[in-house]
Subunit: 444 residues, 2 copies
Amino acid sequence: MSNSLVQVFNAQSVAVVGASSNSEKTGHTVLKNIVDGGFEGDIYPINPKADTILDLKCYQSLKDIPGAVDLVVIIVPAALVPQVMEEAGAKGAKGAVIISGGFRETGNEELEAEVVKITKQYQIRTIGPNCQGFNYTPNKLCASWPLIKGEGPVAIISQSGTVGATLEMWAESESIGISGFVSLGNKSDVSEIDLIEFFAADPNTKVVSLYIEGVKDGTAFKETVKKAGDTPIVILKPGRTKKGRKAAESHTKSIAGSDQIFDAVCKQLGIIRANDITELYDYSKSLGFLKKPRGRSMLVITSSGGSGIIATDVAEANGINVVDLNEELKKELVDVLPDHCVVANPLDLTGDATAERYKTTVEIAAKDDSIDFFLVIFGDPIPRAFDIVQELKQQTRKEIVVCYLGGGETEKEEVQKMHQHGIPAFPTPERAVKAVKALLNTKG
Amino acid sequence: MSNSLVQVFNAQSVAVVGASSNSEKTGHTVLKNIVDGGFEGDIYPINPKADTILDLKCYQSLKDIPGAVDLVVIIVPAALVPQVMEEAGAKGAKGAVIISGGFRETGNEELEAEVVKITKQYQIRTIGPNCQGFNYTPNKLCASWPLIKGEGPVAIISQSGTVGATLEMWAESESIGISGFVSLGNKSDVSEIDLIEFFAADPNTKVVSLYIEGVKDGTAFKETVKKAGDTPIVILKPGRTKKGRKAAESHTKSIAGSDQIFDAVCKQLGIIRANDITELYDYSKSLGFLKKPRGRSMLVITSSGGSGIIATDVAEANGINVVDLNEELKKELVDVLPDHCVVANPLDLTGDATAERYKTTVEIAAKDDSIDFFLVIFGDPIPRAFDIVQELKQQTRKEIVVCYLGGGETEKEEVQKMHQHGIPAFPTPERAVKAVKALLNTKG
């Protein structure tokens, strides 16, 4: 099944049915995002009332397009969708994205069934209806919104367009990037199961991150996750409370199912379960960039004593070992660090720590074999923070997680550089430590 | 005791002993921040080797200053501090801020005792040593770093300069502002107890937010909190685990104490306990802007179905009631909203929600008496989001909390406007709901 999705995500020609010249319409936004995203294949706007949109020649209908059409993006009133799907089938389209709403979610089950029938008849892989499209950055194909261009390790699959878009925007602003984003909508054909299969096999994807409100087919879901091998999967699924479950069921008209059972399945299959949107993002970041550390012993290097204490507390509460420094390492550090530094774990370089002091420390610490991974905390705007962690990375094969407190321009730029080089950085020690915990809980 | 702090925070003349013309030195940064912060009183840099710094006339020592000096900020080597304090006493200074380190925290207990003796002899209220100074925005007096100028309802008291500065920077970037920031340092004289007393009585402060690693005097602490009356107090205190406690004790050379006892004291006194830096910030925001709602019934108005479900789940898990809509309200809403909206709680206006649809909804919902407070979720960049919540605010006396997902420029600007008008906005539904929970747990 997933092979067919490979052709959809790597489409070489796209038609946008319902393309609009009105910049407030979705039919405009999506066409513009495909164009501005840099898609290198053929783009065909379909609108019987326009000659050109965004300088592209418009066609009356799919059948008027001279060449082949791999993917059809549909943004027309629900009642017109079956006819467009018929034309897409006749045209030999491999995939369709139905952004239009007005199907099962509003009680129009028959109309959706009609679309599903056409989908099957022509073997068109169909995303939606009632969705926010998809974005696959390796093919520069953003048939969705917002326009996100940065390539990265995270594939986002979301039953909520807004939650998915928020994750995309965070990833973009922090220079993490995404491999893909798919808005599930009504899952009339393509579901989370097909997408986990596709992204687990996708060489551009390192972690699959899902926001889902229910699973379509429990058995198939379990089989697919098992086959996903070492690709980590993170899931945020609400419906832990009775009212939350009721709200989920009314949103997607599907069965949210028992939360206990879902939780047990996650544990059994090594799925990392996020408790909130922030965790979903943070875990995706650490799983997208890092390998599972060989053990649970962490060294905290910090310029902020308080942040080191907070990190220690959260680590210990989460089964991460803030190991005592071995005597040799301690001795070496005492010899080179100023007297007011606290040579312990957390290793407190104190508020006047310079880039040089950090560098001296990481050079020595990198050699110590009792440490499995590093948490480096920057407490003040150190403009060379990226250089410091990059140097540590070059000297050790162990994983490095960064916490950069503050939030000013320097921090933002340094964090972006770290992400561009595969080092995850978090705004608080708590978030950094919990992201490592997620890493330790993976199957790998 | 706190009366004496009123004079310190409202000082009309400040001397910076150890002022430097080298922009990399703390003695430069602090002087510059006092100047750039717009302090309207007299500023005296003290540096025997300079004629002027930042265009201000330099003095050889405190005794050479012609006028009175209310506050002395000290950034000189530890060994010189007693002499400076003697001069400050002779000059009649009411307060001192000793930023210099090298006292009790590095084993120099005697030196610190000497300073304390002078402090008591001259009745100088002294903050520090080994601290990051203080900032009191109503007096435009930033004897600290970073320079934060925005006035707001939150007073930050922190045993970690970095944690405190991070909170300040977040508050600044979101246009929340602060009333004050005090870095506790070694607490040789002024402690969290004096500061809770001062800020609870300060008309510019609506919430007192603390990061502390230990309490100096348990009995006095309890008495002070009791006297703080309705001013809410939020505390982040690590040391929940054995290693966290050990690290805290080595950082501040004080006793972190039993976490269970501290927790019980918090519950007894109505102190809101934050579990991490993010919660400390979020709770400060809601407590700084809002009153305690009269009850636990929340209406969620959203354009994002998924976010509404997440909010419902977190609310229910935290004892907040996502009430069923009463029949009259339901009927009124069904009449005016498009068919595809979900008229329930969460009230899902769906992804195509316009500002008009939100406005129609809030106008009707504002009248309903079964609702105690509102959570308004914006899932897409709606440029008039602020107008919508402002309109709701004008039509109801009930509290309003906003969640604005995304993270683009539009969201940022709208959120800033909301904060400037006292409406707290959070980046995820989970954080918004938890911030309301903190509000419901206050004494008020």
